[in-house]
């Protein structure tokens, strides 16, 4: 028999074992629900933003109603104005939440009463409206013709020109980036650990010894990594389909092309990241003496994964930071940071190609090293092996 069918047999057994476990299906469901939540919740929150209710107290303030609503509309701030007869009523309505702001305008002063804080945008809006009314009145009293006043108060066309503009759809991109970061973090973590546990189980149950009478260590290692990888890929694909459907339902009109493009690409990043972490975890799993030691052994291996996940938030906050760009080429971080950066829209094609090349080279190196450690350690009894001891044991 040639090598490939043996590896495939090992792979098939891994797949069958996992598909038969209830835990796998529960995890698949939870992952899909998690992705759907990431996409649906921000949309629900955005829809539920209520306009700010501004109470205009007294006739001076009420005279500003029209100007205030017009300025708000220009600044895309949602407000609603309500005329209030007395300051006492206004105050009690602010306290009970009926009003968000109570605006009082005197001859030379104005006040906005709020329950606790007022957003800077709304503060500026109210201030500008009051200032404009004050200016208009002062100029009129000084005898300046109305046409001159109107000309003076017409805003000078003002343009903000971004030299390095952010990509459009920033909100959708941030959601996509977060979804990518979370999904890859969870999938790589779960399936890396699954490889380590599977290897440790074969070692501690001594099944490896029986297997290795028929199978070479390399075949066993590759078959196991491939089998678990395929299961992980399938689970991720199910979650992605769930996400696509959720996205189509929630964002109807604006199914972002970014999201469409990003999701299939995530499968590629998963495969690359999984290969890197799985071989390292397999080597770790082969060094343990007892199943309980697996968590301890894979902790340092999966630490970069946690870091990569946390950096997702930094990337969303400042998508063009140079240090994030650099880190996204460092192999342990690449499988999470690169797709996150792609989702945020700051990556050129050559960067993606370079990152993939670096990943492939690292996978090759890690897999070779892992195969050496694995071959030596998998049939070795006794206490947990140090990395150096395991390397010395290699026998293939």
């Amino acid at each position: 028999m040639t090598r490939i069918p043996t590896t495939r047999l090992v792979m098939q057994r891994e797949i069958t074992e996992r598909l038969q476990s209830r835990l796998f299906w529960v995890m698949t469901l939870l992952t899909a629900l998690g992705v759907i939540a990431i996409i649906v919740i921000p949309a629900l929150v955005r829809k539920s933003v209520q306009p700010t209710t501004v109470g205009l107290v007294g006739s001076s303030a009420q005279a500003l109603g029209h100007a205030l609503r017009r300025s708000a509309a220009e600044s895309r701030v949602k407000i609603r104005t309500v005329d209030v007869a007395s300051p006492a009523v206004a105050r009690s309505e602010v306290r009970d939440g009926t009003l968000h702001v109570a605006l009082t305008v005197g001859a030379h002063t104005a006040a906005a009463e709020v329950k606790d804080t007022l957003s800077p945008t709304l503060t500026a809006l109210l201030q500008a409206t009051v200032d404009e009314a004050h200016l208009r009145q002062t100029l009129a009293e000084a005898g300046v013709p109305r046409s001159t006043v109107r000309t003076a108060l017409t805003p000078v066309p003002f343009a903000t020109v971004a030299l390095e503009p952010l990509p459009p759809n920033r909100a959708a991109r941030s959601v996509a980036a977060l979804a990518a970061g979370v999904l890859l973090y969870i999938s790589l973590g779960i399936y890396g650990a699954a490889v380590a546990n599977g290897v440790a189980q074969e070692k501690t149950s001594r099944t490896a010894e029986v297997l290795l009478a028929a199978v070479r260590p390399r075949q066993l290692l590759i078959g196991k990594v491939a089998g678990i990888g395929i299961v992980g890929l399938g689970q991720l694909a199910i979650a992605i389909v769930g996400g696509l459907i959720a996205n189509a339902v929630v964002h109807r009109a604006e199914i972002s092309s970014t999201v469409w493009l990003l999701l299939p690409m995530m499968l590629v990043w998963f495969l690359l990241g999984f290969a890197l972490y799985a071989f390292a975890c397999a080597a770790g799993g082969a060094t343990v003496a007892r199943q309980e030691e697996v968590q301890f052994v894979i902790l340092p291996i999966t630490l970069p994964l946690v870091a990569g996940f946390l950096l997702t938030y930094a990337a969303i906050a400042s998508p063009s930071a140079w240090w994030l760009r650099v880190l996204s080429f460092v192999p342990p971080f690449t499988p999470i940071l690169m797709p996150v950066r792609i989702a945020l829209g700051h990556v050129s094609a050559w960067e993606i190609a370079l990152a993939v090349l670096i990943m492939l080279a690292s996978i090759y190196g890690v897999a070779r090293l892992a195969a050496r450690i694995y071959s030596g350690a998998i049939v070795r009894g006794g206490a947990r092996l140090s990395l150096r001891a395991a390397l010395r044991l290699q026998h293939e």
């Binding site: 028999m1 043996t6 047999l9 090992v10 057994r13 074992e17 074969e202 149950s205 001594r206 099944t207 490896a208 010894e209 029986v210 297997l211 290795l212 009478a213 028929a214 199978v215 070479r216 049939v379 009894g381 026998h395 293939e396």
Partner: protein, 294 residues
Amino acid sequence: MLEIVDLVHRFSARVAVDGLSAEVGAGEIVGLVGRNGAGKTTTMRAVMGILRPSGGEVRWEGHVVGPDDWLRFGYMPEERGLYPQMPILDQISYFGRLHGLDPLAATSAGREWLGRLGLEGREEDRVVALSHGNQQRVQLAVALVHGPELLVLDEPFSGLDPTAVDALSDTLRVEAGRGTAVLFSSHQLELVERLCDRVIILEEGRMLASGTLPDLRAHLPRLLRVNVNGPSGWSATLIGASVVREDADGVLLRLDPSADPQVILQAALAAGPVEHFGFEDVGLADVYRELSSR
């Protein structure tokens, strides 16, 4: 035929096997005996390719063993190893397939072995649900499912009840009758004596002795028991024979190869009426004790 040639294996500082050479022919049952740490398990793992020896080689049918040969060997390690959660028929047929059987053949061979080993009807049971003895049976089925040409069994009898010992002995005889070469290790010397065509005695990684039981006996001094109804002390001056012990059943003498039993008989008759004069049976246990004390 399996040939082990000048096999050496070192674990860092310790030498586990130190220049061992041995053979197991087709249809032959060979027992490997020796105390713990004598190198039995290391030798078997080297034969199975589970560890690569530091020196020497293992040959099968005249060539150095390789992956294709290992597929035709069956192995039962000292510490049993099965997937705890996998149904036993699936498990046996999986190992059959790893050894090159096609899916149908693997399943039918698995069923057949479960039947022969008294586990029919339990095909869907998981290993964890089986008793220790039944787990041993499954492990044996895993070693046999692909009809191996060489069986390597490390302590296959440990932990078995007498009925299971007999069943396993019968199975090994049947397999050897088919032409399978069988190499197994055991601490139960009377079992080895009963079952094996040849015995290899290992001591600190070296072969102390090897051969059929009569061969091994021939190299040992014979033990002669003589009971004389008369004063003791007649045996003290014998040439070529020394007293091992003296008790109510007479005196037990260790004879040098040069000693003449007739001379001893005459000396005994001179001391009084001889009530018993005969050689003691020398079992493998005695051979082992004698050889390893030298």
